[in-house]
Subunit: 361 residues, 2 copies
């Protein structure tokens, strides 16, 4: 059964590396301090990104992408949201959400397709796979985006989550972002991706089961307890009004951090206007600190959330940022044990210092 | 409960990508045929490997490495195995096994250290971390190594497994190989790594639990059944006297393949001389086919095995090869669902064809 995590300290001159287990998953990490690297050791000269000729996501090239299902347009006194139909393609957009040209998951085409699972180990990848073009400006990434634009991005996440989660064959919606070629971003134009799946993916489902057990045992949400505890450790990065940011105890990635809302809610559909702005600000501040600390490293982030009814009390949405500063090799892939050469405590202190040294907008 | 796997066929013009689940693990893959890539599309011009000046693993530089714990030396009428002591460092070696200079896991230093797990989520990384220098020749990788040398490598795996598995604090021994910079090989000299851990790692432990359940239900080893079934599918690559090679049904890596012994045995300590040679030959043949097919791609391989008593009947050792031809990005890391753009059926046919076109030694 789950217990509140023990917060081990890395001690100088310790005989062995620490072995730490994730809060909820059966996933272990060796904090390999003998290889001790300071976070800034990861800063490297950037490989020249190949020049993008005729980026398909840039304004003017709307005709080479599938028609958007959602476009934000400037409008008198605010934003107009258009759902595009047929071959009409809006210009002058602030943000647009389009189907992925090579979708991993695709909508059911006929009644039979919605019978997704054919056996316990075989089915069809029924769902959705979308690309959210975050800005008309090619290089307008969250770390350097105007706050107002990032608020639009978060609102678009909400719009798409609301729409996709109502479809009868959708059980989960994974919102994620790949930044930089080495983190799998095949297009360099600022974008996120949204994938709707016909079952709850293993990582999320394992987290849900463990947090459901914790809730049964303690009568409280695991994440609500966690942020209170982590706020008392050197792993704390930012403790704002609405969000707590920390480097998790068993970080598997160097400089990994999580953004967790203080208010218990299984997903972000109920975010208020104030919370939405606070979330955008927190995301921008922390991603900018990561960019400044290690010279704009590649990273992935993913939002974990629950839309299923049986996880409303026990699951708590959050965003996990995974800087891509190490390679998972034969050991990690064979065992499911990871090696992290930066302690989360050091990572948090360095990110915190970087934030404090940065003038706010 | 486990059932024998269903062998779905990828059908041309199918409405959706296939969703396949691993034989034993709760791990899913989308076979994304719409992005359809032929295996040879992955062949790329190699990034120039930085020239190795004074490689620490090359002969003549034994003094910059820790003393070996095992050295194979040429001897009249065969091989002499030396266990090195103190600062003595043999020259003219055929193969040497040394401690990793930056070990993730390290031996207990006093009695107290052997109390490894301090709580359910915290402990010390007690164990071993070794580097097996496979040949005095810097570029002597298994795909192009003399068969006799590769037999020595397999024998050294056996020697180290026998030694490490007898230590009271060791519960698992992970033998693996990283090939190429992009697959995490920080040294380009031909080498494998051996890590002994104080608990059975999550991936292996999950496999063991599932195969134990299968054994309870069916009275047979899952892997014994599996190789008979896979031999009847287009995923078969090689069906030799002692080993079956196939691309697994739910391959998460493009061109992934597994080498599974036909004789049931939980680990390879009991391999006969003939089986050892057959294993070396199978490894060489298949890795050479991978090298020839996609221009010497980076890869990882890992040996899965059991040394624990409660898995002797139900677990069956094998080697898994993971070519590094794709990037696991935000979707994979957030969900535990993988996307593979090459069907295992295509992968197997191409590897099989490459083997058939290659003259044998």
């Amino acid at each position: 059964m789950l217990q509140p995590p023990v917060f081990g300290k890395v001690q100088a001159g310790m005989a062995h590396n620490e072995l730490r287990k994730d809060y909820l998953l059966n996933r272990w990490v060796v904090i390999a301090t003998e290889r001790a690297r300071r976070p800034t050791d990861f800063a490297k000269n950037k490989t020249e990104q190949p020049k993008t000729v005729n980026c398909p996501l840039c304004p003017g090239n709307e005709h080479v992408t599938p028609p958007a299902m959602l476009v934000y347009l400037p409008s008198e006194g605010g934003i107009r949201k258009d759902k595009e139909q047929g071959d009409f393609r809006s210009k002058n957009w602030l943000l647009r959400n389009i189907p992925n040209l090579y979708p991993a998951f695709s909508p059911p085409k006929d009644a039979d397709d919605s019978k997704i699972m054919k056996s316990r180990n075989f089915g069809y990848a029924v769902g959705h796979h979308e690309v959210l073009v975050e800005s008309p400006n090619h290089t307008d990434h969250p770390a350097n985006m105007e706050l107002g634009q990032l608020v639009l991005v978060v609102n678009a996440y909400k719009d798409r989550l609301r729409d996709l989660s109502q479809k009868p064959y959708v059980r989960y919606v994974q919102i994620f972002r790949n930044h930089g070629l080495e983190a799998g971003a095949s297009l360099s134009h600022a974008h996120s991706q949204i994938v709707a799946t016909p079952f709850i993916p293993p990582v999320v489902s394992d987290e849900m089961e463990a947090s459901r057990n914790y809730h049964k045992e303690h009568g409280r949400c695991f994440f609500c307890d966690l942020i209170k505890q982590e706020a008392q450790t050197p792993r704390l990065i930012l403790d704002g009004g609405h969000f707590t940011v920390f480097a998790p105890y068993a970080s598997v990635h160097p400089l990994e951090f999580w953004i967790v809302p203080k208010r218990h809610t299984p997903n972000f559909l109920s975010l208020t206007k104030e919370e939405t702005e606070a979330f955008a600000q927190t995301l921008k501040t922390t991603l900018k600190a990561l960019k400044d600390l290690v010279n704009d490293p590649p990273y992935n982030f993913g939002i974990h959330l629950a839309i299923n009814k049986d996880a409303q009390d026990s699951y708590h949405w959050h965003l996990e940022v995974y800087p891509k500063l190490a390679i998972w090799a034969g050991f990690e892939k064979s065992t499911g044990i990871y090696i992290n050469t930066v302690t989360p405590e050091t990572a948090a202190q360095e990110l915190k210092k970087t934030i404090q040294q940065t003038p706010t907008d």
